[in-house]
């Protein structure tokens, strides 16, 4: 398990500053949710961590080591984008085994590992299907299994709930949290829905206009919100939470 430290990352697109001295400490094995409204810089932060975007200033450290100079391939960060990014021309098996085949893992071990992962994400029997034949929740789990196959040091999830229908959201949330905990991987998950954020995250980082405003557990955030934005986002959560409970009450 790995500890990730983000130190004063700044990133701009032209004149617009998308990340403004963002700092974060993610504990080993933790599920950290980065939450904020659309356009606040959440995805940009993930892309900087992944190594796709180079920040103007700041550092990303893994277990105390600076990894700024490492390429995407060298970082070994698992990444699940918003649309899950499954390779459309490959079966579920080929998608999950991609990283293993790239690493020249012997085929018997590839088969063994893929089946283990299919069990982990509860997709046994679907290995010959193409991504087009899967539901949103199933695609998400294939993408998760594919990212976990290479035993990443950090897992980055970008809005993993966005393509899951409301009817299956609760199950998908439970499965997602369970899978990452069982894999024991340090996870950073970007979300804009406060309800998903509180259900999934060990801690929640509230992000607004390119800055991390406050980090803490749900309880600590509710107890001592730092400013009006945090209060507003949490109020939104409480409202949604109430709406979710209402039908069953």
């Amino acid at each position: 398990m790995t500890e990730l430290k983000v130190e004063a990352i700044t990133k701009s697109y032209g004149k617009s500053k998308v990340l403004d001295e963002v700092s974060l400490d993610v504990h080993s094995g933790e599920f950290l949710v980065v939450m904020g409204p659309s356009g606040c810089g959440k995805t940009t932060l993930l892309l900087v961590l992944l190594g796709v975007l180079k920040p103007e200033s700041g550092h990303v450290c893994l277990d105390g080591k600076d990894i700024d100079s490492l390429s995407i391939e060298e970082r070994n960060f698992g990444y699940v984008p918003q649309d899950y990014g499954l390779f459309p021309h490959m079966t579920v098996f080929d998608n999950i085994s991609f990283g293993l085949r790239v690493r020249n893992v012997p085929s018997s071990k590839v088969v063994e590992k893929v089946h283990k992962l299919l069990n982990l994400v509860d997709l046994q029997g679907l290995e010959t299907r193409s991504p087009a034949e899967l539901s949103g929740g199933q695609r998400q789990r294939v993408a998760l299994a594919r990212a976990l196959a290479v035993e990443p040091v950090v897992l980055l999830l970008d809005e993993p709930m966005s393509n899951v229908d409301e009817a299956t959201k609760a199950d998908v949330r439970v499965k997602l949290k369970e899978t990452t905990k069982r894999a024991g991987v340090t996870t950073i998950c970007v979300l804009h829905d406060p309800f998903d954020a509180t259900a999934l995250g060990d801690r929640i980082a509230i992000m607004h206009a390119g800055r991390i405003i406050q980090i803490g557990t749900l309880e600590s955030l509710l107890e001592k919100p730092k400013d009006e934005i945090v209060t507003r986002l949490l109020a939104c959560f409480l409202q949604r939470s109430g709406e979710q409970r209402a039908p069953s009450d």
Partner: protein
């Protein structure tokens, strides 16, 4: 316009604007196919002439040179544009836009006769490597004029895949350039490679000016189909006409086949 209104009223057309669009589209379609259609009208009942031309040694030779060189150019173009499209997709450098213009748009607008002349001076008699009036001259001239079609299709598709982020995901899983190219880009571009090949092939079949100047028109060696049409159009117009019919049939047949292959790959 009065005439148009009357016609549309006569036909009971309610949406005159939509009807106008149909009419304008019809005009363009008519313009594009009328010459092809006229070719068959001009041949009329003289189909025996077509058969006669087809079996003449000169036409058979031109057919062999044209089809073989165009097919070779198609394959060479696809093979050559794959690494180039990869570099233009993934490498950033200052003159990239200029280079793309020189590789794709410029060869399509540069007069083919000038292309032939340039190659004749560069690789002709008097230069260290003399390829003028050889089969390779046919290949080089056709390649310059027609490879941009394969380049354009392949580059566009590689960029689409790059924008989709699939290559970033592959990289996050440890993939290197060879995996990205062989496992992601090429399988997802197969349809576009077939389309690029077919248009390159078709353009190479129609190319004449650059080839005539650089390679000449030596039967069984460098004389291609359009050259036969050009050279026989004054001395024996009926042979030229017959050759044109064969060329048109061949091109339409091949293009439809390529389209069918591309659709099957979808």
């Amino acid at each position: 316009m009065i005439c148009f209104r009357e016609i549309s009223e006569l036909l009971g057309i309610k949406d005159r604007f939509a009807f106008a669009l149909d009419a304008l589209a019809g005009l363009l379609i008519l313009f594009m196919i009328v010459s092809l259609f006229y070719l068959y009208v001009a041949v009329g009942a003289r189909w025996s002439l077509v058969a006669e031309a087809l079996f003449s040694e000169r036409v058979i030779a031109a057919l062999v040179v044209s089809v073989s060189s165009s097919t070779l150019v198609g394959f060479l173009a696809v093979a050559a544009v794959i690494p180039t499209a990869y570099v233009l997709t993934y490498r950033d450098f200052k003159v990239k836009s200029l280079l793309e213009t020189l590789l794709i748009e410029f060869p399509q607008t540069f007069p083919p006769a000038t292309v032939g002349l340039v190659y004749l001076l560069m690789l002709g008699p008097g230069s260290p490597i003399n390829l003028a009036y050889t089969y390779w001259a046919v290949i080089i001239a056709k390649f310059y004029v027609s490879a941009p079609f394969a380049m354009s299709f392949t580059l566009r598709r590689f960029r689409e895949i790059h924008r989709s982020g699939l290559d970033t995901i592959a990289k996050s899983l440890g993939a290197r350039a060879r995996h990205i190219l062989l496992w992601i880009l090429l399988p997802l571009s197969s349809k576009d490679l077939v389309a690029g090949f077919s248009l390159t092939w078709a353009r190479a079949m129609g190319e004449v000016a650059a080839t005539l100047i650089f390679a000449g028109a030596i039967p069984w060696k460098t004389e291609i189909f359009p050259a036969v049409v050009y050279l026989t159009s004054t001395e024996s117009p009926q042979v030229a006409l017959a050759t044109s019919v064969i060329a048109a049939l061949l091109s339409i047949g091949a293009l439809l086949s390529f389209k069918w292959i591309a659709r099957e790959k979808r």
